[in-house]
Amino acid sequence: MDSLIPFTTSGSLVDCVDRKMLVVLRDGRKLQGVLRSYDQFANLVLEDTVERIYHQDVFAELHRGLFLIRGENVVLLGEIDLDQEDDVPLRQVEWAVLEAYHKAEVLDKKQREEAKAQILFERRGFCKEGGEGDGY
């Protein structure tokens, strides 16, 4: 039966409707929510969305509500196994506690990426990424 459904956005996402999904955006944000609708561009409607941040073996989440995500920005969309999600060996902490760590981590990663890009550009003859119009 699966083989009869062609590999299109719609074909792949029908089974995900009304399921709890994890969405990773291009900016690295991780959202969990119930997929209520989508279209051929993978624009998504997520209900009861929470944003999660992770640091080592702890995580924190913040309720964000109803999202309409523009498809272009979606990197990954995966179903969350409700039976197994409680078995994940991560500890939940307060958002306020973890936010600073997470911000530092993001900043650190950004700086490392920039340093890497700089070296690739100056010494290895690569072009620069993220220039005008590159991000869209």
């Binding site: 009869l4 299109t8 719609s10 409707v17 624009n43 523009r70 869209y136």
Partner: protein, 178 residues
């Protein structure tokens, strides 16, 4: 579900048989995509596409984040199918969230948007609205006027029954057999 599968089989066999130029195949892929979407919306109960939700959010407060991280808080005035939007009474913040601007009205090009956050009750409100519209349409048709909304955009979710998938596909296809 059975409608969907049956429709799928018909369509996909057509794709295999036909050895047309690439453009035609692309057209068929589009038709396939549309068909799948249509069958999805027919087989499930009332569903709304992301852009219809946006349409329904007119005059509601919302937060728009652009790809570059800037956010815009305001009430939706208007939107189109490209996701271009206009907001009124806007608070704009920069990507770092440390600078603020207040704008009376602003226009945002759809392609620059990362996501929109809309009030949660909206989803239920719209579902109710659609249900009511569907009921009303059903009653009206029962009276005298035939299916007035046939082929209209956004109409596919008002299916009358399973067998409806086929005629719609015929009406919607573009450029097939050219």
């Amino acid at each position: 579900m059975s409608i969907e599968i049956a429709g799928e089989r018909r369509i996909s066999s057509r794709v295999v048989r036909r050895k047309g130029p690439r453009r035609v195949q692309q057209d068929q892929a589009d038709i396939l995509e549309a068909t799948l979407l249509a069958s999805f919306f027919l087989t499930t109960t009332v569903k709304m596409l992301p852009l219809s939700l946006l349409n329904a959010a007119q005059n509601k407060p919302m937060l728009v984040e652009l790809k570059n991280g800037e956010t815009f808080n305001g009430h939706l005035v208007n939107c189109d199918n490209f996701m271009n939007i206009t907001l009124r009474e806007v608070y704009q913040t920069n990507a770092e969230g440390d600078k603020f601007w207040q704008l009376k009205e602003c226009y945002i090009r759809g392609s620059t948007i990362k996501y929109l956050r809309v009030p949660e009750p909206l989803l239920d409100a719209v579902k109710d609205e659609q249900n009511r519209a569907r009921e009303a349409g059903r009653n009206a048709r029962g009276g005298h006027s035939g299916g007035g909304n046939r082929g209209g955009r956004g109409a596919p979710m008002r299916g009358r029954g399973g067998a409806r998938g086929a005629p719609m596909r015929g009406g919607r296809g573009r450029g097939r057999g050219m």
